[in-house]
């Protein structure tokens, strides 16, 4: 398993996913995340599922996480805060049609101007954002815009994007709360906790 420490998140990538060992890989990621922070990682009994089947850790200070897999690669981003992650293997597909159908007009222009690399960089950012929100892809996918002035930015949405190193022919993106917003949240939480 490969690791990428993004500071506010840890990304683990594995090529050993067989469709059945997702929970085991997730536990390994949690151990690494807790270990890097010198925290005790509880056992597998703390890995629970919502009625809808979505996994989560149930222990104090448990990391938030987001999982994605594509082709033969599985990945998980873990963070103390909300996090969204997407991984996509480049395939010969009609990405122009997807951009025309599902991207905001400014994003479509950005992708068409920049080609396949721009498309997948933007696609993984958009999908990591909707996973960060917990909504998944819905009708709003076309209405929010991440392309601004020839760049991809989540500033207007209060998030930051990180594109960590990915295996060849893959794109990966992690979405976390913008640093300034994260600091504000800490202040608000501290203020709320003060007597």
């Amino acid at each position: 398993m490969r690791e990428y420490d993004g500071g506010r998140f840890l990304l683990c990538l594995s090529e050993e996913y067989d469709g059945k060992n997702g929970s085991a890989l997730l536990m390994e990621c949690a151990r690494r995340f807790c270990g890097a922070r010198r925290a005790v990682c509880p056992g597998e009994e703390t890995l629970r599922r919502t009625p809808g089947g979505k996994p989560y850790f149930d222990f104090p200070g448990a990391p938030r996480f987001s999982v994605s897999h594509s082709g033969g690669v599985w990945g998980c981003a873990l963070s103390a805060q909300r996090v969204g992650f997407d991984l996509e293997r480049v395939r010969e597909r009609d990405w122009q049609a997807v951009a025309a159908r599902f991207f905001h007009p400014h994003e479509r222009d950005f992708a068409l101007a920049g080609g396949e690399a721009a498309f997948f960089t933007l696609w993984t950012a958009k999908e990591s954002y909707v996973k960060y929100l917990g909504t998944g892809i819905d009708e709003s996918f076309s209405s929010f815009c991440l392309a601004h002035g020839g760049m991809i930015s989540g500033d207007a949405l209060g998030v930051s994007f990180v594109w960590p190193p990915a295996p060849e022919e893959y794109y990966a993106c992690v979405c976390v709360v913008a640093e300034r917003a994260a600091i504000l949240n800490v202040h608000q939480n501290l203020s709320a906790a003060m007597p």
Binding site: S70, R93, F102, E127, I137, F141
Partner: protein
């Protein structure tokens, strides 16, 4: 109709041996990007618009056929 749906899936994903019971995610390992590609292909082939929210209720190939039947989408 199953053959037509199978051909569209094959043209996009390269996946064969499609049956009514084929699970799009578990059996074909389709990602959301693949599914968006499929939506584009179906919309173009049948000259229709498929709301994104409808897609997440479709799990099996049989669900696609049932959805098309309910929407009156035919091979014409």
């Amino acid at each position: 109709m199953l053959e037509l749906v199978s051909n569209i899936i094959y043209s996009i994903t390269g996946k064969k041996d499609i049956t009514l019971d084929t699970d799009l995610v578990k059996d074909l390992e389709l990602t959301s990007f693949d599914i968006m590609n499929l939506i584009c292909a179906f919309e173009e082939r049948f000259d229709t618009t498929i709301p994104t929210r409808d897609v997440w209720n479709i799990h099996y190939v049989s669900d696609i056929l049932e959805y098309m039947r309910k929407r009156g989408i035919t091979d014409s």
